[in-house]
């Protein structure tokens, strides 16, 4: 486990706020997209892109780069903001998300957008695809790590567990899954739609190492990612307890904000709340 000075934590919190602001502005401009699940995963994505992952935005196909798969592809605004802020493409492109001739598709498309390792959109593919990537890395002796970010609702799909069992069979320590456990999906709470608990026990029963954290506590996120890197005999899942719509009071914990875009006044309030959090967050 590494030492993380306060200055680093604060810097990454700032980056997460920038990702939230970019995501909301993108969704507002386009009047389409998924704010709830973008806001809930912003801290995790900031930790990965601006600290943990070994990536080279100037060389997006670098064979030794760490791989990030956004299995919950509907949080594409968040991913695109992170890619732009990392320098994979101009930030100006974010303004054209969803235009007919823009490379930024509704959901991530690996053939169109630099930095996108795998196409996603329909839920459930990330873990099994990650197993294949991690196996290929092992075969070629490449040192990179593969991170798969999933939704909690996504974990209702059987294919997730097929992938989980395969990863355990091959003891893929170079694979880390992160569940954005915000307890909300499209139609309501996970509790009401299809209960997942005890979720940690399910992953443990599949022979994964399990780390449970507060997914908005930057220090806990960094420590969990460090710990995952130190487990050498099995894949790790980080179950990150989060709040859907985190940072915007009227969006928090509301399935209505899963896939709805804010109007002008709502965007202004959301921006004010997220910026305000800087001073007492």
């Amino acid at each position: 486990m590494y030492f993380h000075p306060d200055s680093q934590i604060i810097e990454l919190q700032e980056r997460a706020r920038d990702l939230r602001l970019d995501s909301l502005e993108m969704i507002h401009r386009r009047q389409a997209g998924h704010p709830g699940g973008s806001l809930s995963a912003a801290d995790i994505v900031a930790a990965l892109f601006f600290h943990k992952m070994r990536i080279d935005p100037q060389n997006p196909e670098w064979p030794e780069r760490d791989r990030f798969i956004l299995s919950k592809g509907h949080a594409s605004a968040l991913l695109y903001a992170a890619l732009a802020q990392s320098g994979y493409f101009p930030r100006e492109d974010l303004r054209h998300w969803g235009d007919l001739d823009c490379h930024l598709q509704g959901h991530p498309d690996r053939l169109k957008t630099p930095g996108v390792n795998m196409t996603a959109g329909l839920l459930g593919h990330g873990v099994a695809v990650g197993v294949g990537i991690a196996l290929a890395a092992r075969m070629d002796g490449l040192p990179f790590h593969t991170y798969v970010l999933m939704g909690d609702g996504e974990c209702q799909g059987g294919i997730v567990w097929e992938g989980a069992m395969a990863a355990a069979k091959y003891r893929l320590a170079n694979l880390t899954a992160i569940v954005d456990f915000n307890n909300v999906q499209l139609d309501g709470t996970v509790q009401d739609i299809l209960p997942l608990e005890p979720l940690a026990d399910k992953w443990r029963a599949c022979n994964w190492a399990v780390i449970e954290i507060n997914g908005h506590d930057m220090r806990q996120i960094l420590q969990a990612l460090d710990t995952a890197g130190e487990i050498h005999d099995r894949p790790t899942v980080i179950i990150a307890r989060t709040t859907k719509g985190k940072g915007v009071s009227f969006m928090e914990n509301k399935s209505q904000w899963h896939g709805a875009a804010p109007n002008d006044a709502q965007l202004a309030q959301a921006i004010a709340e997220i910026k305000g959090a800087r001073h007492h967050g």
Partner: protein, 313 residues
């Protein structure tokens, strides 16, 4: 005729039919706020099952409910039902001939903003290849609603293709529909446009434009892709000698394929197909723009009609 989204016409009709037929059970896979089965869920919570993001499981559950004598309507995105839950549909619905109604929403490119992963441009071809399956593609919201009682009262598997969008209105709410019987919407002698789904309204506009150019186009709505109304197609072939098909789907294996099979087996005449040209689509700001960009515009229909008339001998 108000332009309401087709999914709303379907969702409201399903809720209304719930009062008529207590045997109807509705299932959804965490998309009831999208497919609009939430109208039914609200009125009949005890006959509604939301089973989460698990489409294959939902189909097999629907199969079990059908085995128990219920009439299950299984709802979700077309791209997921027709693709991810395909084997369940093939084996447990079609082959086992269970009385499951598959309501496949967000079909075609109607989910313009979510992009190609969410578009469903090959589902008709897939479902049509399946023995025992009835495949229905309504043209507008009123027609989508009209199909609910008809398919519920038909005994056998049905795939009902629902658009997310407000397609151009074609029918009054009193429209009556019959499985396997196409509808002649406009008579004409120079060419026949056979259309389904959102392309029906567009084909009627195309026929207006053709009329202004002195060409007299017949327009048939082929809502049932399977079993296809072969007599109506063959009559059109004999009387107009040229056919255009138009669908919000790939030109491979869908309505165009079905019509081509009937023509080439029984009465070959020149045929042009309007639809997506064997390519994946893109994300766009509106469905209409997307349809224009992927060869499903009104202009594409008029151009195809002019080409096919040229090919007549």
């Amino acid at each position: 005729m108000a332009e309401i989204p087709m999914r709303e016409g379907y969702g409201k009709a399903l809720a209304a039919y719930g009062a008529v037929n207590p045997n109807v059970i509705v299932l959804d896979a965490d998309t009831s706020a999208s497919t609009l089965t939430h109208f039914f869920a609200k009125q009949y919570p005890q006959r509604f099952y939301n089973i989460g993001i698990a489409e294959p499981c939902m189909i097999d559950m629907a199969v079990g409910l059908a085995l128990g004598g219920k009439i299950p309507f299984a709802n979700g995105f077309a791209a997921l039902l027709a693709l991810r839950a395909l084997e369940q549909i093939r084996t447990c619905v079609a082959y086992a001939r269970t009385n499951v109604k598959i309501a496949a929403s967000y079909a075609g490119v109607s989910d313009f903003k979510d992009g190609p992963t969410h578009h469903s441009i090959m589902d008709i071809a897939i479902m049509r290849a399946m023995p025992q399956m009835t495949v229905i593609v309504p043209a507008d919201a009123n027609e989508a609603g009209a199909w609910v009682p008809v398919i519920a009262e038909y005994d056998g598997p049905v795939y009902l293709r629902i658009s997310r969008a407000a397609t151009l209105p074609v029918h009054q709410s009193s429209v009556t529909v019959q499985i396997g019987k196409g509808i002649t919407l406009r008579d004409g002698g120079d060419v026949t446009i056979i259309a389904a789904g959102s392309m029906v309204g567009r084909s009627l506009l195309a026929a207006d434009q053709l009329a202004a150019r002195g060409l007299d186009a017949r327009v048939l709505e082929m809502h049932t892709i399977k079993p296809i109304d072969a007599p109506l197609i063959l009559q059109a072939a004999a009387e107009t000698g040229a056919i255009v098909t138009a669908e919000e789907h790939t030109i491979l294996g869908g309505l165009g394929g079905a019509v081509a099979e009937v023509l080439s087996l029984h009465h070959p005449v020149p045929l042009e197909m309007v639809g997506v040209h064997d390519t994946f689509t893109r994300t766009a700001p509106t469905t209409e723009l997307l349809m224009d960009a992927f060869c499903m515009g009104v202009e594409d229909v008029t151009a195809a009609a002019e080409r096919v008339i040229q090919r007549k001998r």
